[in-house]
Amino acid sequence: MDFTQNLLNGFALAFSLENLGICFLGTLIGTVTGVLPGIGPTAAMALLIPVSFGLPPTASLILLAGIYYGAMYGGSTTSILLNIPGEAASVVTCIDGYQMAKKGKAGTALAVAAIGSWAAGTAAVIGVMLFAPPLARFALLFGPPEYFSIALLGLLVLSNLSGGSFSRSSLAMVLGLMLSTMGIDLMSGLTRFTLGFVELSDGIEFAPVIMGLFGLSEVFQVITSVEKPSEVLKVKFRELYPKFRELKPAFGAMIRGTLIGFPVGLLPGPSGTLSSFAAYRLEKTFSKKPEEFGTGVIQGVAGPESANNSATTASLIPLFALGLPFAPPVAILLSGLMIHGISPGPFFIRDHGNVFWTVIASMYLGNLMLMILNLPLVGVFASLIKTPPRILMPIITALMFVGAYSINARMFDVVILLSFGLFGFLMKKCGFEPAPLIIGLILGKIFEESLRQGLNVVDGNLWLFFSRPITAILMCLSLAVFLWGLYKWHAGRKLSRNS
């Protein structure tokens, strides 16, 4: 009974005019940062830290958390409409979402992203509310060797995500891994592969690379395409809104996305991004027609968009139960709390129950607000694709330039954006997909870091990784995936030789 009482108390406090307003403001800012390419939730939350000084602790946590999960709603919008991921967690949405938009189904894609985000977000809040302490203890079982085996499995499973040639996607992934080695070496503290640029000493910035490979290369593609560039889809405004019949196949994907996103959220690092890739892979595996993925399949949007929301919310668990942030935006949430003299940890729910329950209640409300905010906008956003490219392309190019510059306020990242735009364009011309490169880049840091830390933990003997049960299972899985891939590749070659 205590539990219901606490939650109802939380709702009562969350429904105060101030907290409702703050919650709306947070989710709105979150949506906008999600939509705008470049600036991500971490930067937006950091910018608002000084504002939260003046707010009561609960309100400031509601505001910052709203931005965090709100960004996952907005991120898909530009992925679907323009092939520009609003933030890294929506990269995979580009693959099928943009194809859907090209077929005039932008409205359906946007609606399914919003509904999936809401369902997953709400389900994950229930998970946080009920199971935060035991799940946090579970998360602690994972040390560097376990992270390494997860990263290895991730690389193997996700490398050939968008289908196509195995060797090409592996090549792109390895390139991503190589790019991830730029910056300060984890063990010696010395800089490596920075080409003498101090800007590269913290590694290459993700967002300009992603925007370049997806968005800018698409702009180049449109400019150089032989088809008439002024060709615009003729869609009636009403047709932009989805029909229930079209949404139906997405519900299973939403549930699967939520389920896979939640545990991924308990891992350190860019869990939102990883969860969306994992969900896409899962959908493709479960689908009866995996070959259709990449041509605008609704499950390819529903799964990942649900997963990243679920993961985002789940990543709050280590913060609430241990006081330890597993991801950069959560670290900002922590400083937002610390400023007010609140330190989350094992006694957080006991000592600051009011804060915890009000924030939980506000997250239910915030997710609802976000869906209500996003669904009517579907038509407005979707009508963007009716804009002729000669007007739209310069605008989005300018947006990306501003976005890239705004991350660290330096021109260097704009140069990165341009270089990778050109590179992405050439990649596509040669039949390479950009997604595996992004996987390599994102997983590369965790891969290397956890391998080297893990080797330290097990005294430099890689075989000792197998003495830890979780690692042993994951490593065997990786081996199986690798052998299966090898077998299929071999079988495929035999087949093509015989025919």
Binding site: G189, S335, M338, S343
Partner: protein, 328 residues
């Protein structure tokens, strides 16, 4: 042609007037400062300890100086970007920045950078907290002697997590090993939080970090302090001895200081030093920084200059005796 020459003459005249006017002002020593916004460069991202320090300090300086004080985050290279910007900034008092020991001192020791410690003038120290060793509450390492014994028993395999390679905490661990004649396995993480995650999960044996990283974790009984590397015992952990008590001259800690480019005119610098003293003694600042659990410790410009000089010598020696990696 003639018109052009006239124009040129007028410009020359104006410039001369400007230069002499400026000199005249200098001679009179009536510098009007500040007349516009003052920037504080922070070498780390928003939301981090340095950033919060600067943001809590800024409004109090603003009140005294009568001009906006703006915090500008320039993360990159472990602070190197911001330190270089501060060193090369126009010494007019409008660009200030946070300097850290040991980070600002150790970066030039490990790699080639385009600033030296002589490029900075100090305004006043804001933060100081010493390094310490923490373990899980149920660890069998209870005392300083236990730690040394365990390190010797495990023969270099006692795993000690730190916040980054050759950053402050790692350097503290190296100094400790050197003084105690032991060898442990230093495992670097990206910041203190992930190293504590590994400690709580039992994947490593101990973590070396600073006071503010774990004050709350100690209260929540998630970690236990074994010993500190402070000058004297920290009142927050009265049971944790210092290394000095144990007869080892290892004093390691982390300073955060407000600084300016070295060539800043003394009258501007003095004004800032005064403002800083006033800001840090204001009850509001004390309350705000207390709420945020910042380990505030004021040192005057001269005091901190002396400390930084000692630290520089100590770190240079550490680099030389232990042959730490350099890239020059």
């Amino acid at each position: 042609m003639k018109r052009k020459m006239t124009a040129g003459f007028v410009i020359l005249l104006a410039l001369t007037a400007l230069v002499f006017g400026e000199a005249f002002v200098w001679a009179q020593q009536t510098v009007k400062y500040p007349t516009k916004a003052v920037e504080i460069l922070v070498g780390y991202g928003a939301g981090g300890a340095s950033d919060i320090t600067a943001r809590i300090l800024a409004p109090h300086l603003e009140k005294i100086l009568g001009q906006p004080v703006v915090v500008v985050n320039k993360p990159g290279g472990g602070g190197e970007i911001a330190y270089t910007m501060l060193a090369k900034a126009n010494p007019d008092g409008y660009t200030l920045g946070l300097i850290n020991s040991p980070a600002t001192i150790s970066i030039p020791l490990s790699r080639k950078v385009s600033y030296t410690m002589n490029d900075f003038a100090y305004i006043g120290n804001v933060i100081y907290h010493e390094n310490l060793i923490v373990v899980k509450p149920d660890s069998k390492i209870k005392t300083f002697e236990d730690f040394i014994a365990e390190a010797k028993a495990k023969a270099g395999k006692l795993n000690v997590g730190n916040s980054g390679p050759y950053a402050d905490d790692h350097l503290a661990s190296l100094a400790l090993q050197h003084a105690a004649g032991i060898k442990v396995k230093d495992t670097p993480f990206q910041g203190t939080a992930p190293s504590l995650v590994s400690l709580l999960g039992g994947h490593i044996d101990a973590v070396v970090c600073n006071v503010a990283d774990i004050v709350e974790k100690v209260k929540q009984e998630q970690v236990r302090v074994v010993f500190t590397m402070g000058e004297k015992r920290n009142e927050l952990f009265p049971n944790a001895p210092t290394m000095k008590e144990k007869g080892m001259n290892v004093v390691m800690g982390n300073y955060t200081t407000l600084g300016a480019p070295a060539k800043t005119p003394p009258e501007i610098l003095n004004k800032l030093i005064e403002a800083m003293k006033q800001a840090m003694s204001s009850p509001e600042f004390i309350k705000k920084s207390g709420d945020a659990k910042l380990p505030v410790k004021y040192f005057s410009a001269e005091e901190i200059a002396k400390i930084y000089k000692q630290d520089t010598t100590a770190l240079e020696n550490l680099w030389k005796t232990l042959n730490l990696p350099t890239q020059k």
